[in-house]
Amino acid sequence: MASHGIEIRGLYKIFGPEGQRHVQSVKEGMSKAELNEKHAHVLGLKDINISMPGGGITVVMGLSGSGKSTLIRHINRLIEPTVGEVLYDGTDVCRMSVKELREFRRHKTAMVFQKFALLPHRTVLENTVYGLDIQGVPRSESTKKGRYWIDRVGLSGFENHYPNQLSGGMQQRVGLARALSNDADILLMDEAYSALDPLIRVDMQTVLLDLQAELKKTVVFITHDLDEALRLGDKIAILRDGEVIQQGSGQQIVLSPADDYIASFVREVNRGRVIQVQTVMTPLTGQAAAASGVMPIPVGTTLEETAKAMTAGGVALVQIVSAEGRPVGQLDLQSLIGAMVTPADHEKPPSLAAE
């Protein structure tokens, strides 16, 4: 299944009866507070431009009230935009007719919700085939698919339980199975793991990453947790007050936070798990000797894993090799450790550092 990317262009959302009227003043720089005070309209999203790669996980991160849940609901148009485009495979979702939109939601998107939103009167299996029921797939066929996905998310044996009988983590597995049964290209996950306790959350992240390695869907994942964003995201967009303040790979965000706000988040991050060796290695120049006997580490390995390998092997120097096995650089223990700890200029919030 070839996945298409999602292109969001110039998206504005102003909540209120006459949102359309105030777009121009927002474009001209009216702030959220001013709009609320003068016109009693709430600025939800302001000039969002994100390109979400097909087959990858895009994480939208922000604190509550930043507009992240509003943003994800524009992709399947649960919320109507004030102006802007959401392009998928060349079609603007915002211009679809009611019927087209229904077909789009049935076949192209599936959604996982923070509060699970399972149907309490349906069993796990019946919940899982819910999307297929709506598509009109006969039960004889959909149950097979449902059982397969229940098995894949690790819920075999619970097919005939009701959601009330399951723990939060298990309920969200049902939510995930329901979304996956739809066979949709786009998977929208709205704070899907925020209601779960930390261990189960990590567990569910692994489930998602394992499935994604195989399915290559276009995943949009909403979270308020930077660690989660860095673990899952091929691409991360950070929202604040309805605006994107930085987007890029996890490494880019950790290494060069766009402003103090992001820097204050990034300070607490375990950098060893985010930064990859090729970012901090000393590149080989020319045809320098591919030193023999030096431990090879493939490009894309995180610093933490490298450190583990180095301590286990008792070496102080490793060679970084490309996917084809060609040496591209080297890394010694000192620069490795240097890259793993938070640099001094990120250490304290700027206001304190100035004192």
Partner: protein
């Protein structure tokens, strides 16, 4: 009336419109109304006819079947609905006592009319409730009507019913339905409106059509409230059946009316007992049935 002596007369005794005007107005309205009824009598008959046929058929079925068969079917229904031995035994005891005091026949007549009234109330009430839940404007229009229907003393709306439909079983049935339908409508509306917003959003996100949303999500989740509505409707039909005996409904209600008119204390008490017995049977059976439908909500993960 010390204060009256110092006030002008008009402020003391209320200046009513003169009697002759009121008489004229009453006569005009009454005649107009009767004329209207007479003119549309065919239409009214056509509407009433199927009800009459249905009610008569059910009544004959209940009254003419051997009591042992009726009792067996009743116990089977009660057991299937409640899955409770205690309620089933209670039903058997209640019905046998009713039979022993010689009220079997009358109870069957009452049972028939309550059954028909409840069915009609459900058939009318649920669609109206759904419409109300879908549109605030419809809700705004219907709510005051329901308020009037529920506050109007039950005797008062026997008057137009009698004028339009005359005296008899079917007018009584119509009065019972009007009295019993408001809780059905209100609770259907309420149940649908109380459905969790998150679940509705999920239904939308998966591309439900409005009909799919109604049948897959809203109705099943509103079911406990709708069942409470059905229960209320049954109870109110039973209450109104007694009042409706004044316009010619037979059965236990008629006996009660006789007992009031003639001060037959024991006879009245026996009829009252029979009414209470079938009310409890209906109530317990429909409530446990409603609870059983919701068993998935009771097993909560620890």
């Amino acid at each position: 009336m010390a204060s009256c002596s110092i006030l002008p007369d008009v402020l003391c005794s209320f200046p009513a419109v003169s009697d002759s005007y009121i008489r004229l107005a009453r006569k005009t309205i009454d005649d107009g109304f009767r004329g209207l009824v007479r003119e549309y009598s065919h239409l009214i008959d056509a509407v009433v006819q199927p009800l009459q046929v249905f009610l008569n058929a059910l009544e004959r079925l209940f009254v003419n079947s051997p009591w042992i068969l009726v009792l067996a079917v009743m116990l089977a229904i009660v057991y299937l609905a409640s899955r409770s031995i205690a309620i089933t035994i209670g039903t058997a005891v209640g019905m046998v006592l009713i039979g022993l005091i010689g009220l079997w026949q009358d109870t069957m007549v009452t049972l028939a009319i309550v059954t028909v009234a409840t069915l009609i109330a459900i058939l009318i009430g649920i669609p109206i409730g759904i419409l109300m839940a879908r549109s605030d404007r419809v809700q705004g229009a219907i709510n005051p009507i329901l308020d009037v229907m529920q506050t109007l003393p039950s005797f008062v709306y026997l008057i137009p019913v009698v004028v339009i439909f005359g005296i008899g079983k079917v007018p009584g049935l119509i009065a019972v339905v009007i009295y019993a339908v408001p809780p059905m409508i209100r609770l259907t509306n309420l149940g649908i409106r109380l459905v969790d917003r998150d679940v509705l959003e999920a239904a939308d996100a998966f591309g439900s059509s409005p009909g799919q949303k109604l049948w897959n999500v809203q109705m099943p989740l509103a079911l406990p409230t709708i069942m409470a509505g059905i229960n209320q409707t049954i109870m109110m039909s039973l209450a109104m059946v007694v009042v409706a005996s004044m316009v010619g409904v037979g059965g236990l209600g008629k006996n009660t009316l006789q007992a009031i008119n003639n001060q037959f204390f024991t006879f009245g008490f026996m009829n009252g007992f029979a009414l209470v017995a079938i009310a409890i049977i209906f109530d317990r059976a429909s409530q446990t049935f409603g609870k059983r439908l919701q068993k998935h909500t009771e097993v909560v993960h620890g």
